[in-house]
């Protein structure tokens, strides 16, 4: 009797099903290995393919395009210096609706939430650009279209995908 044939004694085998299961088992291992490689690339968040920097005159925005729900993420806005007394950064209402802010560095002089979104006011730095870092975690999963606008100038529209 060949090795591939099913025996009936001392146990009833179903080698067709068993070989199919072994093949499935290996397919799952391959899928798990692929998941690990995908995760290392950053497609599942926190990796090289996830980090994005977009530049608009007056505003440079760095963020992660792939995020995970409730996991902390960092959004960095670099705003060009100006002669104004105050620099403002406005994040669209979709940001305040779907993200919970944990910390903002430096602390804003003023912050207000309205129909246009979350408005943050900062004193201009004595020299160089103002770098604002916002630590936040997504509250829910899905695709979110967000905008960040700086005053005196600069506007960036961006999308993030939040995994469950």
């Amino acid at each position: 009797m060949r090795e591939e044939d099913s025996r009936t004694r001392p146990v009833r085998e179903n080698m067709r099903l068993q070989y199919a299961f072994w093949a499935w088992e290996r397919a799952v291992w391959a899928a798990m290995a692929a998941t690990v490689l995908i995760a290392l690339s950053g497609i599942l968040g926190h990796g090289p393919l996830s980090k994005v920097t977009i530049t608009d005159p007056g505003l440079t925005l760095s963020y992660e395009r792939f995020q995970r729900v409730t996991a902390m993420t960092r959004l960095t806005a670099t705003i060009s210096p100006s002669n104004a007394d105050e620099i403002r950064l406005t994040l669209s209402s979709s940001f305040s609706d779907n993200f919970q802010i944990a910390d903002i560095e430096p602390r804003p002089q003023l912050s207000s939430a309205g129909p246009t979104g979350l408005e943050l006011g900062f004193l201009p730095p004595e020299t160089g650009e103002l770098v604002v870092t916002i630590w936040a975690h997504p509250r829910s999963f899905g695709m979110f279209d967000l905008t960040a606008a700086a005053q005196p100038q600069g506007r960036a529209a961006f999308s993030v995908l939040v995994y469950p």
């Binding site: 090795e3 025996r7 146990v11 085998e13 088992e25 799952v28």
Partner: protein, 161 residues
């Protein structure tokens, strides 16, 4: 509702991962396997509870798991084909002293694993003394010795005169 869906997804994923890790892992839990299962449990627990540590949420998750588990056991009882898929089937890996090496390799077992089970269960020394070695669905290896060997086994009661 979200908790029920999340629990069902976690149940499915855990089942897939544990089932795909193979019967070998289930039957011969090494210290590392044990730690691995603890970590898997911890990660799943954190994903399930998220930031809701309320008694209601905990009860909801437990109830969902128990309901799915009971449903699966009922399906296994009534549909043998599904039971074969979900639980797995016993596989003969040694037949009349002959090692079925292809099966052994696919099951991620070695001849040493079989000989260890033979020693432990029946005090057998060689592969030739084994009539059948069966890799059970539970992940354990059962050994059926050849008759003349069984008769030599001092632990097997001699027939009454």
């Amino acid at each position: 509702m979200e908790s029920v869906i999340k629990s069902a997804i976690v149940f499915l994923v855990l089942w897939l991962v544990i089932r795909a890790s193979g019967r070998r892992t289930l039957g011969q839990l090494t210290v590392f396997d044990f730690i691995l299962f603890l970590i898997i449990g911890g990660v799943a627990q954190r994903a399930l509870t998220a930031q809701d540590y309320s008694l209601t949420h905990a009860f909801l998750i437990i109830a969902t798991f128990v309901v799915i588990d009971v449903l699966v056991s009922l399906i296994e009882r009534d549909v043998p084909t599904v039971a074969s898929i979900l639980k797995g089937l016993p596989t003969i890996v040694v037949e009349n002293g002959r090692v079925l090496s292809g099966r052994l390799r696919r099951a991620r077992l070695t001849e040493d694993d079989v000989l260890q089970a033979a020693r432990r269960l029946h005090g057998l020394e060689t592969m030739n003394e084994i009539k059948f070695a069966i890799f059970e669905a539970s992940g354990e290896i059962s050994i059926i010795p050849r008759h003349n060997v069984a008769a030599r086994d001092p632990r097997v009661a001699a027939p009454a005169e």
